[in-house]
Symmetry: C2
Subunit: 183 residues, 2 copies
């Protein structure tokens, strides 16, 4: 539903091949939209068939050859249209929260270690985002584009901050909990 628009955005920012897109999704784009290389290749095919993007002229190779894409005017128009279309926030689905709720009725065995592991993962992610912020958004640069992109990165940073704090809080609660309640 939005993967094509994520790809269009990335390609407007910079024409890329499937692999380059995959790398970019693993890094900067990944903090608000994740995708696997299979999804990306499939979607590139569709977008090309629909006339929203096209392969950059040059060699037109078979498999195993880089093929770069750029956005056509129709693609840019579609991206514009989509961006301006209201959309509802999608409801939450979070396994860790569900597991804690389940732990309340079937016991907390095994959950604590995973809370700790998640805390580490989120701390690492947070550090990475803060590194990106330092590198890409030094004080002073404030074109409209920079501001918007910085805003998006801030959301990533604030979300990871929330998780690290919440997980730390959860672990503190666990420490105070009586032993594993039976059921």
């Amino acid at each position: 539903m939005s993967l094509p628009h994520a790809i269009l955005t990335a390609l407007v920012e910079k024409p890329s091949s499937g692999l380059e897109l995959t790398r970019r999704f693993d890094r900067s784009i990944g903090y608000f939209w994740s995708a696997t290389h299979q999804q990306i290749y499939r979607e590139l095919g569709k977008l090309e068939a629909e006339g929203l993007i096209r392969a950059l002229p040059g060699r037109q190779p078979a498999r195993g050859q880089k093929k770069s894409y750029e956005v056509l005017p129709a693609g840019r128009a579609e991206l514009s249209r989509w961006t301006a279309t209201p959309q509802d926030p999608k409801p939450l689905r979070d396994t860790m929260l569900l597991r804690l709720r389940a732990a309340a009725v079937v016991g907390t065995a095994g959950v604590e270690a995973d809370l700790r592991r998640h805390l580490e993962l989120h701390e690492r992610q947070l550090a990475e985002y803060e590194e990106i912020e330092r590198r890409d958004f030094p004080p002073g640069r404030d074109s409209a584009e920079d501001r918007l992109r910085h805003l998006v990165l801030r959301a990533g940073i604030d979300l990871e901050t929330f998780w690290t704090q919440w997980l730390a809080h959860a672990l503190a609660e666990f420490a105070e909990l009586p032993g594993d309640e039976p059921a």
Copy 2:
């Protein structure tokens, strides 16, 4: 992947019919796991077929008749097993963030109104969660079960708090932005 476990958790807490479950998913369970009635009915069928839950004895009616389910020992065991199994946090996919990133390259037309609308939605949600907190978790009650459930609700509250603050911040940035940049 986790809907069956969400349903098991709900049914351990209190045996229910499909419709009652739907209502509970729309309220308290919904703040960490959302599901439609269609998903729920389908999953109830599967769980019954697998012997994890069973219809409460009583009238065994056809369509249009309430049928309540309770969790069987095998279901409780499965829920326990699942809760203790490590799982990776799932990567983020958020359309509003993507739209802002897209707006950076194709212009901000139309986004601001929707930011405002989202802010209102999240403020309403936040107020609702805080109401639940006041009602269900008055100071003093602190059985292990209460603490765990409160922890989960706190996550919901903190997440909504994050969104309201971030959206307010985004709107403030928009106010300072030069007019709509062309492309």
